[in-house]
Amino acid sequence: MKKVLVVDDSPVDLKHLERLLSDSGVLVLTAATGAEALDKARQEQPQLILMDVNMPGLDGFSTARKLAADPATKAIPVVFVTAKDQKADRVFAQMLGAKGFVTKPCSAADLSAYL
């Protein structure tokens, strides 16, 4: 069973993504902050991280950069799932090493490509 870490500060969005992924037969781990995501990524070694960008404290871009700098987590692919939809945001995501960019609100079909 594929293990996916979902990172989002919005409980509603977190629940929505958790439900979508569970219905697809994915084992879902969740984190509400970037700092929590760093810890869980190191401990749980998920096969994929779905991450929001706008979060208080450690935002998604900073978290991705820290994940990429840590030998224990740098191989885990990150897909941003965010309400940000400017072209510039896609460039930033790409340059920070993201493997994908999905705009909220998203469906199971939007995520299935990465599972």
Partner: protein, 200 residues
């Protein structure tokens, strides 16, 4: 019984207010409707690799991720001293003007102190001033602004009131020109077609 007398002149429209900041050799004004806050960054922006030098990174401002831009570098690449390296809270910090709303916010790094001023559209000398400006700046200028003496700016230097939406579009267009399209397409196409993106 006295008759009311007409005012000597019609009441003038109240001036707008603009926030003026120094960016390299330019004094740039932004209407208060766009300019929201002057902030001192307490943490270094997250650098974005392989992007132009004018993009200093992205900063988390109240939970919103906002690009931090050095307009002096954008207008004259390599002419200004390289942006100071971040030295933390005890060293050099970057002061930024945060503007815009929603997903099109910008944080513009500036030098010196911000100067709030009233502004009325003044275009009398605009063509002459505009022609002396860097090409990227010319289409963004809405009008000119007289800067009072005593603010540490070069005497006689006109302030330039900019169209911030046009500025955002110009910066985004420049970023997309600068980044090779092949490195951008996988993400864009992955989102559109639901096919996995290939690593950059």
């Amino acid at each position: 019984m006295s008759t009311p007398t007409a005012p000597a002149s019609a009441p003038t429209e109240a001036p707008e207010r603009v926030q003026v900041v120094g960016c390299g050799p330019h004094l740039l004004g932004f209407a208060y409707g766009w300019a929201r806050a002057v902030l001192e960054l307490t943490e270094a922006p997250t650098p974005v690799p392989n992007t132009p030098a004018w993009l200093l990174g992205v900063a988390n401002l109240d939970g919103q991720v906002v690009p931090v831009v050095d307009l002096a570098e954008w207008l004259a690449p390599g002419v200004q001293p390289q942006p100071n390296a971040w030295q933390g809270a005890t060293g050099t910090t970057w002061r930024v003007l945060l503007g815009g709303a929603g997903e099109t916010q910008l944080a513009l790094r500036f030098n010196g102190l911000p100067l709030p001023l009233p502004w009325r559209l003044q275009t009398r000398n605009l063509p002459a001033v505009r022609s002396s400006l860097p090409a990227a700046l010319q289409p963004l200028v809405l009008g000119l602004l007289n800067i009072p003496a005593g603010w540490g700016f070069r005497p006689g230097l006109p302030g330039l009131v900019l169209n911030p939406n046009a500025l955002y579009e110009a910066l985004e267009a420049d970023l997309l020109r600068w980044v090779h399209p092949d490195t951008l397409d996988p993400l864009a196409s992955a989102s559109a077609s639901h096919t996995p993106a290939t690593p950059a």
